[in-house]
Amino acid sequence: MTHHFILRVITKLLIPLILLFALYVQFHGDFGPGGGFQAGVIIAAALVLYALVFGLNTASAVIKEWVLLVLIPLGVLIYAGVGVASLLLGGNYLDYNVLAHDPVHGQHLGILLVELGVGMTVAAVLTTIFFAFAGRGHRDANGNLLPHSALSDEIRNRKDGQP
């Protein structure tokens, strides 16, 4: 009951495919359905699946929480930075035409960068929300996750009715 062998094997098989599909959705966004938001949600889903099967401590070793907290504003900064860059190059805010010599190339570049920023922020925000909820009651006074052994002890004590 504690090993979850089938779940581990299938999860290991599926997570690379999920990430690959997220990248496909991210970079296919200019031609078909897709884009940064959807890709970010799919990446976050892969991370949440990993955390569900392998535990919160392993997942936060894969992607550190400070990395997530850096990625959130970085994505917004890229989005806003593209807008400000087009302002500085003489267009309107988020006017992609002026980003390159050819307006069509400029639009490609602008959409790509903006969607990249959206994807980073969405993936990081959703993963951070999941970590925050799943880690409730499993952190010490400094906000660090308790190690797994301490965690199971704590839960066992709670079941016995002790503080």
Binding site: M1, H4, I6, L7, I10, L13, L14, L17
Partner: protein, 101 residues
């Protein structure tokens, strides 16, 4: 001929999904319902996708359908397995015949 085969596959897939939906409503407890949903749904989805593959022919669509089929083939039974394990861990007992209780 290919069209006919494709329709046979599509309709039998729909039939499987319909049976699993009826089973989901009519079965008495969680495990038998899950059996109906998991087994019937997996087979039904695979038959429907096989029918669509015959319609698609050798194109990029075929490759995408193969990928979707592998996804469903792995995720459906795994989700069922996880649900059954969670139910057992949560103290849900399978419904047994009166003679065996």
């Amino acid at each position: 001929m290919i069209n006919f085969l494709s329709w046979v596959l599509l309709l039998s897939g729909c039939f499987c999904v319909l049976i699993s939906a009826i089973g989901l409503i009519r079965m008495p407890d969680l495990f038998t319902r899950m059996h109906a949903a998991g087994v019937g749904d997996t087979l039904g989805a695979i038959l429907v996708i096989a029918g669509l593959m015959l319609q698609a022919g050798p194109t990029l669509l075929l490759a995408k359908l193969v990928l979707i089929m592998f996804f469903l083939l792995f995720t459906g039974p795994t989700a069922c397995h996880a649900l059954a394990k969670a139910a057992l861990a949560g103290g849900e007992k399978p419904l047994l015949d009166d003679n065996n209780q």
